[in-house]
Subunit: 443 residues, 2 copies
């Protein structure tokens, strides 16, 4: 038990360092600097220009703060839109809030102003685009002839249809003025630099915030086919059908495609992601003497099943000293899903932690932690769960049947009973979820 | 595509070597030898005695053959019971068949004869017990006052109740004459050597074949509580209630408990398991130049979710060269489960492979193989699936929608269309399932 307590503290420390590594300010500071009269991004430098900042997403405000702190008076002006409650004070860059995840007119208004700002950018200007999770619904600018309601309605139909995200996005990009590379097109002839804090495992740039600065491989034909395949063509608003009919006839310009020379003027840098957090966790663990290994930064699957697989890794470490020997640390990052069947409370990280707790019951000197880097997991005040071999016993002692709790999607109740909730409060960042698996030194 | 074909052949070769490593004959030969006038098992030798062989499970016949081949005339006599169709010819040891997985009177008859044989064993005798998967239902000897029908009825109620296997086994062991260490007790004062081919991930000896030669930590009280907790007490046969009522009053001897001195005369050796197969796969891969890593030998969880997690490992190897660099091989062993919702055909290995195929679509030079070491996966003629980045495309070209097939539990149809079924025929062994993940040398 003493070992368990010590290992729990150590893993908490590693988790905190991992989350700190993806703080939007730290992420921007790692890559952005003044260079001569211009701007340096990683190893690339961009000659002196007027710098204009636009941005969207949950971290847009904090990223804008960091940019101001670094570039100071080189920032001419700017506007970023973030989610309600995420606004921060900036000097040169205006920060506005809008509704997330359901978009509202404030978001459309901000998107319209962002469009005007980049429309006005000239050949000698540099547009710095700050992109983070949530950007897709915060930067909504309905195409000509469409309203926000048309987009919302179509979006809901798509999400309920079971269509994969690629298919959903093909439609979205053809109903909006900025998504799918169209923001970059409006920035031309200015140089564009995107700083991206990625919340999508694998960091697919065309998916993050619907890829406003990357080429769109999909066409009106693809988007039309999606609506037909999922039997939505007759159900979407008339105005959407009208637009698609015109688009299919070539009467509306396509989104910019791969190979379009305009993208030569666009530079993209992922400044932080689940990979950053996973590597920071690995580094922190190694400094503490653990043999560490990152297994994946694209973890996915149903949370309770992923928790079982992770428990199988713990049992292997206990029994056979692999895939890493004691003291050992496995790091996984990604995003699991929860199919809600019960009426309890919880989130994907709590549910995965509860499932893992069942699979490591009574093992000594092992800890599993699942945590959302944004500090929020489902509709709860917790960020995840940190369990050990005694967790299941503590739940039972607290009057909770852990298996029944899992069946009822009540991970919050179970982890609360065992004292295994991870509560960080809002962290101000949002990349992937993290899973840390540790085994102590005792053999 | 050429690389894919080559990598597929290489992985097939590794899989075949892994399965060969758990052939019951090879497994017995690795640990058993003549020693002076006695018997050598691993590093332990047992002085010259009369050797009597008993056994049960799907591999009992082939294990008996191997024992005869090694110990020759030192085998005095013996009887093993195996599943229908698994019988083989032996000289000194009688091999009988019985029904599996639903037990029948032939199994009871064989169990009764095995009990007589070990009852007659004396102080100078060595009883060699050959244990393999399926042994639990092949070695059924109802306790006094109970019939096979009583046991079958109770068993069915337990399996439908959702009680975990430990709870189910606590009841089973208290309704049978040989399970839960009772076979070992009847062998005393003879020396007992168990050779175990394990089909349960983690090799828990008290679970494999219901632990006839290991102590039983559970009591009549535990067993009674299980029936009450799962509301089965009023539903089990009257004869079961009568036995438990007597057991609770101490009128019937308990199963032998941990610490019982009788187990000093019992030696147990796991001669083969999923661990053996995984280590053989690792060795075969390393000889072919792969950097290899065993992640777990206790893999579990819903097959389609496990397939997704495995695909996330593949994507990590492709993108970041970890957890192993190119050419790399990850090995996992265990047993996944399938919740059947559709009407298609398949098995847990095929379903995991199909899910993995969706997660590695269009990646080059990667292969994922899921295979049952017994050569049988679900009610099909296939043993599993071997998929690559082109599998999903081949399914589509063959007119199969892979996502729809997965939803319909029709992995067999999908893998058949893409030419990705693994067909080995019955392998004569039965340990865990294997999952091999390979990435080729090309960077």
């Amino acid at each position: 038990m003493i070992e368990a307590a010590r290992l729990r503290r150590t893993v908490t420390q590693i988790m905190e360092q991992a989350i700190a590594s993806v703080d939007p300010r730290s992420c921007v500071k790692r890559v952005l600097a003044k260079a001569g009269d211009g701007v340096q991004v990683g190893t690339h430098s961009f000659p002196a220009r007027r710098v204009v900042v636009v941005g969207f997403g949950k971290a847009a405000g904090t990223m804008a703060q960091a940019v101001e702190g670094i570039l100071e008076e080189r920032v001419e002006a700017g506007l970023v839109v973030t989610a309600d409650g995420y606004g921060v004070e900036c000097d040169r860059i205006e920060v506005v809030e809008a509704s997330h995840p359901v978009p509202d007119s404030r978001g459309v208004q901000a998107a319209r102003r962002i469009a005007s700002i980049v429309d006005a950018a000239g050949e000698d200007d540099l547009v710095l685009v700050l992109i983070s999770g949530g950007g897709s619904s915060l930067l909504m600018l309905p195409a000509d002839g469409l309203t926000l309601d048309h987009l919302r309605e179509t979006n809901e139909l798509l999400l309920r249809s079971g269509a994969p995200i690629q298919a959903v996005n093909a439609v979205r990009k053809h109903l909006d003025q900025l998504k799918g590379g169209q923001l970059a097109r409006r920035c031309a002839p200015a140089q564009v630099v995107s700083l991206i804090l990625s919340d999508v495992p694998g960091d697919p740039l065309h998916v993050i915030a619907s890829g406003p600065t990357v080429p769109d491989p999909t066409t009106f034909l693809d988007a039309h086919r999606v609506l037909q395949d999922y039997e939505l063509w007759d159900r979407v608003p008339e105005a959407v059908r009208t637009r698609f009919a015109r688009g299919l006839k070539g009467a509306i310009p396509e989104t910019p495609k791969p190979g379009d020379p305009l993208f030569r003027g666009v530079y993209k840098a992922i400044v932080g992601s689940g990979v950053t957090a996973a590597e920071a966790a690995l580094g922190a663990g190694e400094r503490l003497g653990f043999t560490g290994l990152i297994l994946t930064t694209e973890l996915c699957g149903e949370a309770r099943e992923v928790g079982q697989v992770v428990a199988s890794l713990v049992r292997e470490m206990v029994r056979w000293g692999r895939p890493v020997p004691r003291p050992g640390l496995l790091v996984l990052a990604g995003e699991t899903t929860v199919t809600v069947r019960g009426s309890g409370r919880g989130g994907r990280n709590q549910e995965a932690a509860l499932a893992a707790a069942l699979g490591i019951a009574e093992l000594e000197d092992v800890v599993v932690c699942f945590v959302g880097t944004d500090g929020q997991d489902g509709p709860t005040d917790a960020a995840g769960g940190l369990v050990d071999g005694g967790s299941v016993g503590r739940m039972a002692a607290g009057g909770v049947d852990p298996r029944a709790a899992l069946l009822n999607n009540d991970a919050y109740g179970a982890l609360s009973a065992s004292g295994d909730l991870v509560v960080t409060g809002p962290t101000g960042t949002n990349v992937a979820d993290l899973c840390l698996v540790a085994i102590g030194a005792r053999s």
